[in-house]
Structures are given as structure tokens and as C-alpha cells.
Symmetry: D2
């Protein structure tokens, strides 16, 4: 097992030079493009890892699974999916035009930026701090790591380079798809994206989804089985932005990526499988990470499709 | 002449009940849907009017001609049109999707909202107050009315219902079409839209453009002849939002409308012709005003197309 | 097993009245909206079925899996996917606008109509008859049913109501995404859509994909393991048009639907699971069929996501 | 007058090398990129010309004014504009996507290709020959030149490179915007585009529109005054494709261009002004022709905007 993880990471390193770290957020540009790590957490709680496992990244879009899960827990799926769709989008993650083009003017799914911002607006908290604490709380439960916290330098950097997300937020409100204080909602969004994690954290989070919502390290239930199913299904069809179809062919199990370089995979009933590698491909997914997962999927027969 | 104006206004009143006042800005919803007035100002400075000439409206989008003229005066046409196009847009005035759809990501023309916001960003002023004073100054020169001022209740109302314009502003900056402080630029925009005027003011403003940039009341030059040509050409092709083509058929001379219910027409070399009537058609143009202009165009042979 | 199938079909019948048969092709409008059947074929070749199993439908879009598989067999995946994408489309199956909107002007994936037409154009056959025979041959191998044939009345009906597909074909050629004789390619398309089948045929076809490309009835290899993976992955992300995301949540395994009312499901390594029910939902998928599959997925633990 | 025409043509020649002849129709690629001519026809019938006046080109899109005028004559404006809009389009002349994007699915105006094809479908003729004869008849009346005829080599070339127009035609029928035999309608379209003319013909045609529908050479009425107004208004807002706004600024009177290199201008109440110059700019308009018209507009004070 360790051997396979190491072999996969080695193979992943071979494509790193074709990628580049995210630069649209200045703090992310400081990431190490040469870092690469992989980890696997069985639903029995056993963890194995390889590569640069000490590398810390920010979760970025992977946080969308936590906030969506929280919204499903609190608001219920009927409410959530009356406000946001569940269909894959053919557009980039930050696209706005479909919101205008087609009625009803609601985000195509909760994993593109507009959808994730909308989901946050549904949460019944008084302010951004309360909301952020709740999302962070879910992420801690998913990972079993109570020390997870926001990298405030990255959060500040996100806030300063957030024109597109701000545009999305105000657009949603202008078409009455969203209510609430846009700046306040965005504040939570920028901070939840800046939560730091390691590849191990991501693997445990993936395992929590794989096991039907129960954290395999401590046995705590984070999500219902139904919520886990919804989250995994969305990861499968929309988890890697406009690279989701390619990922389904190459890797073949549910996963969610973030521009910090993380990918949290979830093999239902078996394991969480995660990678960390800040060098990204043109669609914003970890280039070495996808290659690593491709090898792992084949060698460990993880493909579910 | 007076008789024809009165006859045209009477005809315009006949369609008022098919229109409704703008409601998306609460203060505008208080406008009188039954009001209708028309005025004509020759390039010799002679003014005639008919109808509810005391009605005061806010200029709204008609202010875009003043701020664009100011930008052409200060920055020159080469700079301005390197940043915004001159082609009609088939989309509603507040549309965002073309900005994303096609590179270069610049507004289609300076008369849609995104274009007007961009034009303001080009003006080299320190803050919104200075910028607003400059735009208001141009409008005073165009109308020869030194008492024009901002209706602060309407400005506040615009500011509170400005989600779409805010979305446009941040989008423009996110695609690097615009620089500057978005909130600050929007502040000018909301206030210039809320400048109050009468039908007489609009007629003189139209006459200033008709005479090649010289105010017919006091002989002051506001714009160069070239700038007047550009402004009139844009009014002809883009002046009535996505109703510009219909207006060209029905009325046939350059004009610019605003959702306050004003339309400022300009018959080159002859006269400014304006209407005020807050009841709007589905595209946001004064329904009684267009009908009035249609009659005037025919009776006074004002058509240039 | 039989009991579960029958229970699922019974449950599916409960929603039939909310659906309607396809009417855009006159011959399809003659289908029986009350018909519903389900079948399961293990990769060991054992078949179980329930409901109106004698109902014959035309495969319609399900045929796209056969022609794509054929193209992968003959042309190789590199060639095929240099000409058509693998990403889900957020647009309806017959949409054209994305082809114009974004370069490269190629179909988003091989399962929307434009993509399926393009795939046919890649096949190196002399004429429509040869091409059709090859596609039909693949379908016979997948189903193990040598008696499959084209319903010529439906094919003629498709041909007569094919304006949109013709528009797609000529558009593809106009942007140089496709070469060849458009009418000739479309002729194959209309006829392959009109191939008749039963629910049993579909179940075996799904089982062939589930087993990695080997027909479980006769042991013949139809596709390589790699081709099976590609076909299943595309079914998962794009198989039910713009209802693919919803299907992933509700059912959770790869499947492909057709407007004839069939859905061919494939549970990797386990079974083909199919339904036939001509009453469709708003997206063109069998409304009773999806409900039936939802029950089967739960009762038989078929979900892979 | 002759001197001014010659000076304008000389100035126009200065930009010819920046243009290229249309190549998408092979026969058009044979045009002489160095040719340039201008002509002016007063509404009194006096004609002046300069440059390569013997150059024969095909009218291409300029024919749309004749077929639209014919449709207005026969069907009336209410019918015609219930089926096609009058608003400028921001898209290229052969764009399809707006037809799908927005309901009602009708062409934005009659001067883009989809609109022109639709207009032809409204004409009550038995076949393409009859329809073509009627359109050609209108063009002969407009120009006073009974020898105008179709260049069959160009028509054949158009027919062979007509994928996009065919796609538009079938799309229109698929969304029920158009009825009739698509191939038959397109046949007329290809042939009317291939009608040959000289710069003198175009100038007389423009003068016919300038005079309110009466041919200035023979006094025959071709169109009603109202129809002339409609045609001129559409030329002003939509006549030069997505370069119409720029043309309004630079030249400032109604005109219609064709990719053959002709531009037919019409100065209401004064004259027809035309140019011929096959070298085109990026939008498909005669590059030397626009420059020539710009000079003429200034020197002869032809601007109406």
C-alpha cells in the first residue's frame, strides 16, 4: 500500500512542470509548485500516506462540500435544491452568463462559485463569524482535526482579489436568486476557502463521505447517509469544474478539487483518497494530483464507474 | 408650432395607460404616470413647449451623454474608444453576459450601463464628489440651467437598489476592463442619474448637440463639433436601449432616453426636441413620449433617416 | 429478485401519469404511455425481468453508445477526443449555441446530438448503409440479439422532423468541426436511432458494458476494457441529458436514456439494469423508468457513487 | 463634384492594402482587391462617378434591401415585423446563437442572414425561380437597369459553401420561426446575392430609397414612402453588420454593405451615394469604400446624424 502510494506520487511528480500555481490570489502564488503528496484513509480509520505530507494548503473550493453539507443538515435538501440546481455546468467555475441567460436565474449547481455563495446565504447565522465557525466546525468534524483554522493572510488576499465573486454575489441578489448581506456572505466565503489542511485531513474528510457520513477516526456522525450520497453524486458530476468529465474517465470516483492544489476523493464504502499538489492544470485542478489519483485508481482498483 | 406640440402631446396621452412608471427604484415609483410634456428648442435658442411642462424628472440614462461628452473632452476619443465599443447591443441595458461571452471583455457601447460605468472610471478626478461636480457642470452647460441639482432622495434610492450595477462594476474590474474604486465610481453614477430636469432643460440640451456643441441660449461651446457628431451617432444607434431600431423607424432622429421618463432628441442643424412622461413601455422608454415624438417628427418633418 | 423488480415497476407506474410520450417525432407519439418494464442482466448472464417486457421501443439516443464505441474501436480515443469533448453540457441535447459561443467549436461531448453526429462522421464507411450496418452490428453484439433491426416507419418519421439535427450538422461543417456529406451522415443517425429493442436487449447491452466489454450471454468481446470505462464514465456524467446530475443523486450508476423511453444502466462489475417506459419527463427521460431504477438502486444496493 | 469624388476615391485607395477580398466563397476570391469606384445619383437623376466604374461586383447582402422591400410591398409591415425584429444585432451576420438563446426565437432584424432568409420565406411564390425573378425585378426597378442578372458562377459557388446559411434555415424551421422548403428558399437567397451590379447601379438604387421610393431616372414608384423610411432606418442601425455603429460615427447616413465590396448609401431627400471596392475589413465591409464615403460625407456635407 505505501509502495503504491509512493509509486503514484512519483508518477505524479513527472507532470508537475506542466502546471503552474494559482496566481490570481497573490498569497496562493507563494505555494510550492514542486510539492506533491497523497494519502488514503480507509473507512476503518487506517491511514497511509506518501510524498510531501507536511505541506499545508488552503482548502479553497473543497470547503464547498462542508458548507453544502451544513446547509443540507440545517435547511434540508428540498429547500436547498429549490434555490440551486444539481446539474453539471459547462462553464468555468466563476462564470456569470448562464445566470442571466436562462430563467430561472439560479446557479447551475452548488459547486460553482455562484452556487456556493448562494448556499452560504441560506445558512441562518447572525453574521460572518458565526457562519464561518459553523462551516469550520463541520470541516473539523469531517477531518477529525480540531486544530484546523483559517490562514488569515490568504483570506485577506482572497478578499482583495474578489471582484468576480463580488460580481456574482450582487448579480444573484439583483435577480432575486439570493437574499442577505452580500459583503457579509462573501466574507465567510473568502475565509472558508482559506482554511488550512494537509493531505491527511483531506483523506479523512473523503473517508467520512465514503462511510456515509461517519468520521472513521472517532465514529462521530457528521452527515446523514442521504446527505453523503448527495455530496458524493455532486462531486462525481461537478467536482472538478469543467474538468469533471475528463476526471470521470481518468480516475472514476467522486472527488472535489480546490485551487490550493488539494483534491479530496471519496470511494464509497471503501476509503477517502486525497492528494495535495499546488501546481495546477489549465482548469485549476492539481495536475500532479490528478495523475497520482489516476495511478492509485488503477493500482488499487478504486474506480467505481 | 405650439399647436403642433399640443396636438402631439394629446396624441401621446392616448397611450399612457399602456405604460407603467419604473418601479425598480422605489423613489421613481412615486412619479406621476399621467404627466406628459414636450418642448422644442431651435438652434437659434427659441423654445416652445406644451403639456405638463412643470414636471420634474430625474435624467437617469440621459446623463450618460454628459459624462461621455466629458470623457471625450478630457481623455480624447482614441482613449475612450479603446476601452468601450460603439456598436449597438442587442441585450437589455443592464446585461452582463456579453462581457463574459466575447473577448475583448469590454462594454459594447457607452450607453449601456456597463459602458457608462466604465466611462466614468476614465475620468481623472480624485473622488466621487469632484467627478459628480464635473458631470453636473457639463449638464448645466448643455441646458444653460445653472440650478440643476441632484435629487438626493432618488440618489439614495438608486444606491439601495443597485445590485445589478454593482455586479457590472465588479465584473468589469475582474476582467481588467476597468480600474479604480468601484464603489466610488458607482456613487457618481447613482447621483448623476438622479440629476433633476424639466422638459425644457432636455430640449436645450438636445439643441446644444444639434448645433454642434454650442449652447443656443448663451453661445457657450460645450463640446467640439466632432464630439457632438459622436454623441448624436451613438444616440441614433443605441439611444433607446433595445428599442433603438424601432425608434429609428418610428421617429427617425438621434435621441437618448432615461427611465425617469425623459427623452432628449437632437435634430442636427435644426433643434433639440424633448419629451417628459414617466409612464414607460416594456423596454424602459417613455411610452407617451415616443408617441409624441412620432407625431412631432411627422408634422414638423424632423426625420433625418 | 423478481419480487424486487416487480415492486420497483409498480412504484414506477405510480408516476407515469406525470409524463408524456415524445411527440416531436410523430411515430413516437404512438407509443404506449402506460407501458413500463424493467430487466436486470448479471455479468454471469442471468436475466430477470418484470412488467411489460414485450414492449418494443426504438433505442434513440442509447444508440449513441454503440456508435461511439464503434468509433473508439476503429479510430482510437486520441482521434475521437481531439474532435469532441468529454465534459457534461448544461444545455439541452439539441442545443447549438455553445458551438458558436466558444472556440474550439466542437461538441461538448459525444452524447449530445451534435457530438453524436460528429462521431458518425469519423467512421470510415463509404455510405450510410455501410455505416448503419456497422452500428447495428455493434448493437447486436452488445445485446446478443441478432434480430435487432431498424423500424423504418420511425426512421422515416425522424428524417421528416429533423430540422434541428440538420441545422446542427451543417453548423458543424460550417465551423470546420466536421467533414463529410451531412445528409448521408444524418441518414445513418436517423436510422440508428430507430433500431428497435426490448428491455431485455437493453439490460444485456448494459451488462456488456458492466463486464468490461464482454457480452455475458455468449462471451464475445465487443469493446476493450478501456473503451467500456470511457463509455460508462460518459454515461455517468452526460447520460441523461440535462438531467444527469439529478440521476446521479437519485440512482447513482452509469446509464444512458433515449426519448423512445429506454434507459440502459450499467453497474460496473455487477450487472446491466434497464427500463422501458415511453412516458417522459420534461427533460426527455423515462419518468417511470427513473423511478423504477431509483427503487432498484436502493433495494439491490446498486449505487456506485 | 467630380473632383470631390475623385479625391475621395484617391483617399480610399490609400487603405486598400489593409483589406482582403472575401474568400469564403471561392468565386469572390477572384475579385480585384485594387478596384475602387464611387458614384453619386441625385434625386433629380443626375449621376457622377469616379474610379474603376466599370468594375462589376455581386450585390450580396445589398440584395436584402430589395427582398425586404418586396416583402413589405406584398405582405405589409405588420406581417413582416411579427416574424422578424427591427433591432440591431451585436452578433456577426451569420450568428445563430441568439436564435436559440432568447424567446421569441426570431431573427433580430431582416439584414442579418437569418432574417433575410426568413423574409424570403414570407414571399408567396411557387418556387425559387419565381421568387428570384420577383426580387431581381425589384432590383431592376430600383436601379433602372433592366440588364441586371445573376452571375451563375458566383451563385453556384455560394450554393457550395453555404453550410452556415443552411444551418440557419433549418434552425429557423426547427423553432417554428419559419415555414416552407428550406432548400428552395436558400436557392433564391444564393442567387439574389449573386446579382451583378456596378457602382452606378448601386447609386441609383440608393437614390430611389433617398427619394421616398421613386426611381429618379424614370420616375417609376418602386416602394411607398413608408417602406422607404423603414428600409433607410434599418440601413442606419443594422446596415453594416457589426460595424454599423462605427459607420454611423464616421459616415453618418443610411447604407447597406455586401461582401462583394459594394456599399449602397442613401441620403434622404438628396442622393444615393455608392462605392464598390472588393477589399474588405475584418467585419466584411469594403475598407476603401468606407474611407471614400467618409470623405464624401464630409466634403459634400452628406451627414444626417
Amino acid at each position: 500500500m505505501e509502495r503504491i502510494l509512493e509509486e503514484a506520487v512519483r508518477s505524479g511528480r513527472g507532470v508537475l512542470r506542466e502546471g503552474t500555481v494559482a496566481t490570481y490570489i497573490p498569497e496562493l502564488a507563494k505555494s510550492d509548485p514542486a510539492a506533491l503528496a497523497a494519502a488514503c484513509c480507509g473507512i476503518d480509520g487506517s491511514i497511509r500516506s506518501a510524498g510531501d505530507t507536511a505541506t499545508r494548503i488552503t482548502v479553497q473550493s473543497i470547503s464547498k462540500m462542508a458548507s453544502l453539507g451544513l446547509a443540507l443538515n440545517i435547511c434540508g435538501e428540498d429547500l436547498v435544491f429549490s434555490r440551486v440546481g444539481v446539474e453539471p455546468s459547462a462553464d468555468p467555475f466563476n462564470s456569470i452568463m448562464r445566470l442571466e441567460m436562462r430563467a430561472p436565474h439560479r446557479p447551475q449547481n452548488p459547486l460553482i462559485n455562484s452556487g456556493a455563495i448562494l448556499v452560504l446565504s441560506l445558512l441562518p447565522f447572525r453574521d460572518s463569524n458565526e457562519r464561518l465557525e459553523a462551516v469550520l466546525g463541520v470541516m473539523k468534524k469531517m477531518s477529525g482535526n480540531n486544530h484546523m483554522s483559517v490562514n488569515e493572510a490568504v483570506a485577506a488576499s482572497e478578499r482583495n482579489t474578489s471582484d468576480r465573486n463580488r460580481s456574482l454575489g450582487y448579480f444573484l441578489r439583483s435577480v432575486e436568486a439570493m437574499e442577505g448581506n452580500v459583503e457579509n456572505i462573501l466574507d465567510t466565503y473568502f475565509r472558508q476557502c482559506a482554511i488550512e489542511c494537509t493531505v491527511r485531513d483531506l483523506a479523512v474528510m473523503g473517508a467520512t463521505l465514503a462511510s456515509g457520513g461517519v468520521n472513521p477516526l472517532n465514529g462521530d456522525r457528521v452527515f446523514s447517509s442521504r446527505t453523503s450520497i448527495i455530496l458524493r453524486a455532486l462531486m462525481q458530476t461537478c467536482g472538478l469544474y469543467d474538468g469533471s468529465g475528463d476526471f470521470a474517465v481518468r480516475v472514476g470516483f467522486p472527488a472535489k478539487s480546490g485551487v490550493g492544489g488539494g483534491i479530496m476523493g471519496s470511494v464509497p464504502g471503501r476509503a477517502g483518497v486525497a492528494v495535495v499538489g499546488p501546481a495546477l492544470d489549465a482548469r485549476g485542478n492539481s495536475i500532479g494530483g490528478i495523475r497520482t489519483l489516476e495511478i492509485l485508481s488503477e493500482k488499487l482498483s478504486l474506480r467505481v464507474l
